[in-house]
């Protein structure tokens, strides 16, 4: 798919490439190994205005349009999926405040979220509620002027670094979205470590024991927390994850081309062996197709097309599956070196695997997108 980029979109991609090459890539292996994102990386993200990149200039954001934002996420995904995850979570959650927050919520939170002075995380998953978010058991008990929240949240990406959480609970049986501040009495934030991929994403378990939150911290009506608030955030998240997966595929392609061009076996460089050549072709095809779906998704989002959310899910499903397959092949191409921490390909596979789970698993996408297919969306083209 061809796509003429505007000057601003091309600039966003190039700025992101320069930034991640200088400030992120040199630390990507360390972030993976130490399972944290160093303060100097967080500071560099703030100083270069990446935390608010997708938010309006009115609030201090970078005002990137969806395509420019996606192109930037591609570059971050190329360098370091953990850091890309921070931008994904922060932007998708801040977008909810931008779109559905009250005037008071916007004025209070958006300037600090755009500058990166404060980080926001998304707290939905629970020990007993993953893909079926309707099963959340965290309870928000309504009281005069406030809610009293009790429950546990897990797999909260960058929850350890966050100052604010968009948290989903059940209020008299109905889902509700609430902003919870890190310093709230009764909230404890614990690390979740030794995960398989995106190991530097500072995962947290949140325990809430009677945390009191004012009614003014609610977003949307009671009952709309999942169907609209959570789903809008997850839609933004899927878009960024899809582009991040394209970045992983690109990283695999770069690494495999380098290795196949330099490594000699059987009297010739790997690139001369027919099965390696086939793999390089398949990797290039995966990159081209995944990127084309992401470009289509971005264009539909910019047009406000009702198909955008489903096409974004389609792009995320395809790009994450392709990234997993390509990264697995990249390890094989590297032979034993593929299993060594001296080469990045094992990190690519672990990070790619996570893109196939977050913001909706592969299986959830397979089910949901079948419903979309039954609506014959291609007739609308």
């Amino acid at each position: 798919m061809t796509c003429d980029l505007s000057e601003a979109q091309r600039d966003a991609s190039e700025r992101a490439r320069r930034f991640v090459t200088e400030a992120i890539l040199p630390f990507a292996a360390l972030i993976d190994e130490t399972q944290t994102t160093p303060q100097h990386v967080l500071q560099a993200l703030r100083a270069n205005s990446w935390l608010g990149a997708g938010l309006p200039a009115q609030w201090g954001g970078g005002e990137l349009d969806p395509l420019a934002y996606g192109l930037a996420m591609e570059q971050f995904g190329w360098a370091c999926s953990s850091t890309r995850t921070l931008l994904t979570v922060h932007n998708m959650t801040a977008q909810v405040i931008l779109r559905f927050g009250s005037a008071q919520q916007r004025e209070r939170w958006l300037p600090a979220l755009c500058s990166g002075e404060k980080i926001i995380a998304f707290a939905l998953t629970e020990p007993g509620a993953g893909s079926d978010a309707t099963g959340i058991e965290t309870e928000a008990q309504p009281r005069p002027g406030e809610y009293r929240i009790t429950g546990t949240k897990i797999w909260c990406s960058y929850g350890l670094a966050a100052d604010l959480y968009l948290l989903f609970a059940r209020c008299e049986g109905k889902p509700v979205a609430l902003l919870v501040e890190r310093e709230s009495p009764g909230l404890s934030v614990e690390p979740m470590q030794d995960v398989f991929g995106t190991r530097g994403s500072m995962l947290a378990r949140l325990r809430l024991d009677g945390v009191e939150v004012p009614v003014s911290h609610r977003i949307g009506a009671v009952g709309a927390g999942l169907s609209f608030v959570a789903n809008v955030a997850l839609d933004y998240g899927r878009f960024a994850v899809a582009w991040g997966a394209v970045g992983i595929i690109r990283a695999c392609l770069d690494t495999c081309v380098d290795y196949a061009s330099e490594r000699h076996q059987g009297g010739a460089v790997l690139a001369q062996h027919q099965l390696i050549r086939r793999q390089l072709t398949d990797t290039l095809l995966a990159h081209t197709t995944a990127r084309a779906l992401c470009l289509r998704s971005a264009q539909l989002r910019m047009a406000g097309d009702p198909r955008a959310a489903s096409e974004t899910a389609l792009a995320k499903y395809h790009a994450s599956e392709a990234a997993i397959r390509v990264a697995n092949d990249a390890i094989a191409l590297h032979g034993a070196n593929g299993c060594s921490p001296k080469f990045p390909v094992s990190r690519y596979l672990r990070d790619a695997t996570v893109t196939g789970i977050v913001e909706g698993t592969r299986e959830i996408h397979q089910i949901a997108l079948a419903s979309y297919a039954l609506q014959r969306p291609y007739l609308d083209d």
Binding site: A221, G223, F228, N231, S371, Y372, Q375
Partner: protein
């Protein structure tokens, strides 16, 4: 076409079963997470309105009747419908 006709045509084109204007799309299990987002985008694009936090109520989106009432009231408030 009036708002009701446009909403009815859109939803009926996406849902392969007979549907009355008063049928609750959520109670019938016809709205998954992606279709819910499409409904929001559809009314915003088609009627030039912006769905904000105060509008995020299942009661505004649960049926053709509800959507018609919502876009009519919202559009009137915005001076559009």
């Amino acid at each position: 076409m009036d708002a009701r006709s446009q909403i009815r045509a859109y939803i009926r084109s996406k849902i392969a079963q007979p549907l009355e204007d008063c049928d609750d799309l959520f109670d019938l299990g016809l709205v998954d997470s992606l279709f819910g987002l499409r409904l929001v985008s559809f009314v915003e694009q088609k009627f030039g309105i912006t769905v904000d936090g105060d509008d995020l109520d299942i009661a505004n989106f649960c049926s053709i009747d509800a959507l018609t009432a919502f876009v009519t009231a919202k559009g009137a408030a915005d001076g559009r419908v």
